[in-house]
Amino acid sequence: MNPIIQVSGIRKTYGRTVAVDEISFEVNDGEIFGLIGPNGAGKTTTMECIEGLRTPDRGTISVLGLDPFSAVYKLQERIGVQLQQAQLQKRIKVWEAVDLWASLYRKNAADGERLLEQLGLIDKRNAWFMTLSGGQKQRLFIALALINNPEVVFLDELTTGLDPQSRRAIWDLVRSIRERGKTVFLTTHLMEEAERLCDRVAIIEHGRIIDIDRPENLVKRHCPERAVVLGTDDRTAEELFRAIPRVETVIRSDSQFTIRGQGDDLVTEVIHCLSENRIRVTDFRTILPNLEDVFIKLTGHSIRD
């Protein structure tokens, strides 16, 4: 894998507050990389250091082989940026914004009209920015981030404040950015977003990175627990369930059982037990841990706290 972004030991303080402390990671070519953590964890500061908008107190950053501090304009030619909670001029028209942004780059810009079409904004091309909905504004910001055909796209809290439907539409757009061969670096505090979108994630809290990996690997590593919930009227079942290897607890309430244990094999073992003993079940589902559980495990609290 070819690293596009290399961050090594960066630290950034505001007064006596340490926003980012000794952060290091790499982002590979063509992947969607997510920086996930609660608000105030240092996600935006880290991202803005990489974009060249802030200068870290210590550490080195390389993006596309460029130093974001000394080669900021060269870098900005080649990256696309969407900032958290940014606005545009209230009365700028959609097409004017795209046209203006296209004129700011030296290299040939993408076809603005086509971008608007792809992002479902073509009907709004003459609308003022202030009249757009939250989702439309975010799609316009994506258009502006893509206008210079960037090699890396930065998306900061892209779907915050959007309704679930707009959120899903934006996720599809982000995936389509990757499919065009671009690298995507995003921040989010939504675990579902990270899980569905990111190839790899870095979990950040209090300005430090706790762990980095593919979401499924993080889950496997930190939350090996599995649970099976099933319903049966079989009186003998409980003892049989307890005898399954690696089962830790079996909880029964009426005819519903919750079987908890470690490792991927738990589900197979339970199914094996059911068929071997010809236990008739009326319900069967598995509860798999997700990134949210990983986060709780690693930090001791939910990301929303």
Binding site: E51, L53, Y73, Q76, E77, V81, L83, Q85, A86, Q87, L88, Q89, K90, R91, I92, E96, D99, L100, W101, S103, L104, Y105, R106, W128, L144
Partner: protein, 250 residues
């Protein structure tokens, strides 16, 4: 290439400003109205000969209206810059290859163009409705007004740097700029001000704007006002250097 960005941004800022219903009214219509209406009210009681001799109607009022054009342009710049900062618009523009100074230059250009356009409108309205014919050297006067506006705009950037939020931009700007008109020598000659105000008037840039504009309007040569222009350039240099240090992008 960056020139393309600068021109496009300036053009868009002008268009956006004209879409702002109150903004355009306040900065374009009000100074012209002050000029025409006050001129007619003052002129009504005077005989034509006295009118021609009234230096306030023939010189003071046009200069006052021009200073108003300039000051409202600066106030609107202060407001726009603070709104843009608060909304993250400045930051978003900085995340492009656009140089920071280009972003600010676009705003200066937009304001200078508006100033020139408003002045032209004032002269046109004056030709028709103003009691005293306009015989001033208009080209020189326009240049003088643009130099003066350009200099005060640098104060605008300084004010924009210190206002805490966009809500305070207009009042704080007005609080700093309007009293400057009072001691600028426009209503009371600088020499007859009390010593303290006299001293104040010498450090207020508008004093030099008024002196320059009055002189050029009356037909003085530029040579006679080198000192005023130099003072305005000094104000620009100092304020620009200061704002470069204290200007906040977010």
């Amino acid at each position: 290439m960056m020139l393309r960005g600068l021109l496009k941004l300036t053009w868009i800022e002008l268009k956006i400003f004209l879409r702002e219903p109150l903004g355009a009214f306040g900065t374009i219509v009000i100074p012209v109205l002050v000029f025409v209406v006050a001129g007619r009210l003052l002129g009504r009681g005077l005989a034509p000969s006295a009118l021609a001799a009234s230096s306030f109607v023939s010189v003071g009022l046009p200069v006052l209206a021009s200073i108003l054009i300039s000051v409202t342009a600066v106030l609107s710049l202060v407001t726009i810059i603070s709104i843009y900062r608060e909304g993250g618009i400045l930051k978003r523009l900085r995340a492009t290859p656009l140089r920071p100074q280009t972003i600010l230059t676009a705003h200066v250009l937009a304001k200078l163009l508006l100033t020139a356009a408003t002045l032209a409108l004032m002269v046109l309205a004056g030709k028709r409705y103003y009691p005293v014919g306009v015989h001033a050297p208009l080209f020189s006067f326009t240049v003088a007004l643009l130099i003066s506006t350009w200099s005060i705009l640098s104060i605008g950037f300084l004010i924009a740097s210190i206002v805490p939020t966009a809500r305070f931009a207009q009042p704080i700007g007005a609080f700093i700029l309007y009293p400057m008109i009072g001691v600028s020598g426009l209503f009371v000659p600088v020499e007859s001000l009390p010593p303290a105000l006299h001293a104040l008037s010498r450090i207020v840039p508008l004093t030099y704007s008024v002196s320059l504009l009055e002189g050029i309007w009356k037909g003085d040569t530029w040579l006679a006002h080198v000192g005023d222009v130099a003072a305005l350039v000094v104000v620009f240099v100092i304020c620009t250097a200061l704002s470069a240090k204290v200007f906040r992008w977010e």
